[in-house]
């Protein structure tokens, strides 16, 4: 059962990731990224991390991807064009990535100590997780909340209307946007 579930959802993961690369429209890429993240949640559950599986669906597949699709629709992002720059990078980048993956795979396959995962391994409960989080790692947790507060303020300041517009030459969209905004 574990093996079937692993190969099924690992296949979903890889198919979604490859589809993300092949699609030319950003909204299709966003939807395939949701497939990847949901399959990863199932894999976390297979590894006994039930809280992380829930958090993966709520935070990643929920919040972050809603933000992505929202921005794609807000900016009305069309299909991307292929340019010469990307072709040269393809020639340089693909061999580099293949070499990187080969090195990683060699290192992983040469490891001797890695164990196995079975469905009977038991689950890391939220109890264990929160005991560690709120006793020993309380300070990093609180610092992260400050970080998120700063991120909210930064996002609001950056995306506010009138920010980031050029001083010099105007583009046709800008004047229209200003009048619509007022």
């Amino acid at each position: 059962m574990h093996l079937i579930l692993f190969f099924l959802f690992a296949g979903f993961c890889l198919a979604g990731a490859i589809n993300l690369l092949l699609q030319s429209h950003p909204i299709n890429s966003a939807l395939s990224l949701i497939v990847v993240m949901t399959s990863l949640a199932v894999l976390y559950l297979l590894l006994g991390a039930e809280f992380l599986a829930a958090a993966q669906i709520i935070v990643y597949a929920g919040a972050i991807m809603v933000l992505f699709t929202f921005v794609v629709m807000l900016l009305n992002a069309g299909r991307e064009e292929r340019t010469m720059g990307s072709r040269t990078w393809r020639a340089v980048g693909f061999p580099a990535v293949v070499v990187l993956f080969a090195v990683l795979a060699t290192v992983i396959l040469n490891t001797r100590q890695m164990g196995v995962a079975a469905l009977s391994d038991g689950i890391t409960t939220v109890d264990d997780l929160s005991r560690m989080l709120f006793h020993e790692l309380l300070l990093p947790f609180e610092v992260t909340s400050v970080l998120i507060l700063i991120a909210i303020l930064g996002a609001v300041a950056l995306a506010r209307h009138g920010h980031g517009e050029p001083d010099g030459e105007s583009n046709p969209n800008r004047s229209r946007e200003r009048t619509v905004g007022k």
Binding site: M1, A17, F101, I148, N173
Partner: protein, 107 residues
């Protein structure tokens, strides 16, 4: 073949999947020309690293590995909010999302 009978998955498979997802994320970062899709590839790489964190947490029976993934998720949420705000600001300034056209800092 013995793993087929005993219904156990070697953790090496999870690590290989993680490496493959990371490599696909790099490929996406290199070949995609849309700013939003490039950002999605970065999220894919973050997820690949998270998977290997969870795998090692399972291997060594350590809860800290899972908590690290939790922190990575929180930082990724903050990063997505700020990054997408930057993308909106860039789109307002340049009226394009193609990374080739956003070349103000190029020499």
């Amino acid at each position: 073949m013995s793993s087929l009978v005993s219904q156990e998955v070697p953790l090496i498979f999870y690590l290989l999947l993680s490496a493959a997802l990371f490599a696909l994320g790099i490929v996406g970062f290199l070949i995609k020309r849309n700013l939003i899709t490039v950002f999605m590839s970065i999220e894919l790489m973050l997820n690949a690293v998270n998977l290997s964190f969870v795998t090692f947490a399972h291997q060594w029976h350590q809860v800290r590995g899972q908590i690290f993934v939790f922190f990575v998720m929180m930082v990724a949420a903050a990063e997505a909010a700020v990054g997408l705000a930057i993308i909106i600001a860039v789109f307002r300034a340049r009226a394009t999302l193609a990374v080739d056209r956003i070349d103000l800092m190029k020499l």
